[in-house]
Amino acid sequence: MGSLLDIAKVRADFPLLDTKVYGKNLVYLDNGATTQKPLSVLAAVEEYYTEYNSNVHRGVHLLSQKATSAYEESRKKVAAYINAAHSYEVIFTKGTTDAINLVASSFGRKYLNAGDSILISAMEHHSNIVPWQMICEERGATLKVIPMDKNGVLQLDLLPSLLDDKVKLVSFTYVSNSLGTINPVKEVIRQAHGKNIPVMIDAAQAIQHIPVDVQALDVDFIAFSGHKIYGPMGIGVLYGKEKWLNAMPPYQGGGDMIKTVTFEKTIYNELPYKFEAGTPDVSGAIGLGAAIDYVNSIGLDAIQIAEHELLSYGLEKLAEIEGIQFIGNAEERSGVISFLLEGIHPYDLGELLDKQGIAIRTGHHCTEPVMHFFGIPGTCRASFAFYNTKEEIDLLVAGIKRAAAILI
């Protein structure tokens, strides 16, 4: 199928893509780490600071009202994008990590007790491991892991036995940042809910690629970062079902999250403010709203088609390189291709690609357990966004060949 995108027009929306590094045209294939920002996002942030910068939720003056309504408008845009039943189920956070820490801390303090466990998967980012380890340690609970096979696919046949009555929550990733695997989230949620266990999804690598409908999934919590979906850095989202968010204690105390405060007792504010202590990242939220508008204007379906083509083309062209080994061979995949070249340290390859203007990521991608599983120091990872082109993939392949000639 042909692409539905006018690629030249799309690329013109992202001024940074036109940059030169070391005198070469930038080939930006590190979109899994962060995406570039379209002009409309930059304009929305600038407009906020130049025309109505003001604190939200507390001023009677016009600018504060304007800022508040723009901030709340962004919350509605996020809610619509993920099809949340209520916009107050959308909590603005600093990012995915912050959102997971919020749930680990608040849910954990309320529901996790000695002898209980949290179930994660073998392909989690450190941000979906460490917060759970911390709360498990604090509560005397244990962390259990759904294993994966050598293709980087979760072993779902083991799930029923792992979902015992000690498991208080399942938290796992929708799309693996180091392997590209798309996990069968619906099936995991179905099985967990069959045993009345809530599920949290790390959607950091999914939200920009795949339609996420929280009601259709019936998921209890999802977390994602604005900067991976063309929005600013420092803003992220926690979606939580109303019943959980109401039942959980606040994460942090401070301004905005309270109704009344006396030295004897504080009455907490209602959702979503209960979980947004202190002045929030107003410009970030407004930028994220603009990013969602942008994605909607392109169309997530058109984005999916373009990215699927890039991924297939990338896999096909990279496979032609002698000595290449793909890490992660799931059939259902998205966004990233992880690979190694025989006899070459990923750091060396990344360094020489960089000098040719090609930005990829090398290392363990904050998934050390995945690297231990495969017995490797790290991988090279090329990750795509819809604004990438097949020509850029050709440059990557040529760049790898040139680097390999020097390194072997």
Partner: protein, 141 residues
């Protein structure tokens, strides 16, 4: 040669290359001259762990001078540490402690010494200076 003469020699050598890939080819070549660490010293205590590539470093103190041997799992890192050793090895602890390494900057590799750099080069330089400081104290006793 003094430490600075060693540095100037490297700078002069790199003036031949304007293209980055050529520079890196040269770095990799220099890596082949690295005095390799004896495998028996490749122990956790001698490991400088970078986020992406690892470095093993071992000092020997002989006739008032320090001689370093090292290795890395990445060959570009190997080239970088080889240059550091070329410059600092075979000098007195005092010279090493007082050395100012300007060659990295001059040949355009300063980004390798930024604190969050993944290859452990900055940690290696700190470690070399720490060894030198330790031998210096030992000598003055």
């Amino acid at each position: 040669m003094t430490i600075n003469q060693e540095q100037d020699e490297i700078i002069e050598e790199f003036e031949l290359f304007s293209d980055w890939m050529d520079k890196y080819e040269n770095i990799i070549e220099i890596g082949k001259e690295l005095p390799l660490i004896d495998p028996k010293y490749k122990i956790p205590e001698n490991l400088i762990k970078g986020c992406q590539s690892n470095v093993w470093l071992h000092p020997e103190f002989e006739d008032g001078k320090i001689f370093f041997t090292a290795d890395s799992d990445a060959i570009i890192t190997k080239g970088l540490i080889s240059m550091m050793i070329k410059v600092l090895s075979g000098h007195t602890p005092t010279d090493i402690v007082n050395a100012e390494l300007y060659f990295i900057d001059t040949i355009g590799l300063q980004n390798h010494l930024s604190p969050n750099r993944s290859n452990g080069l900055l940690s290696m330089l700190k470690q070399m200076k720490m060894y030198a400081a330790a031998f210096q104290t030992q000598e003055s006793k």
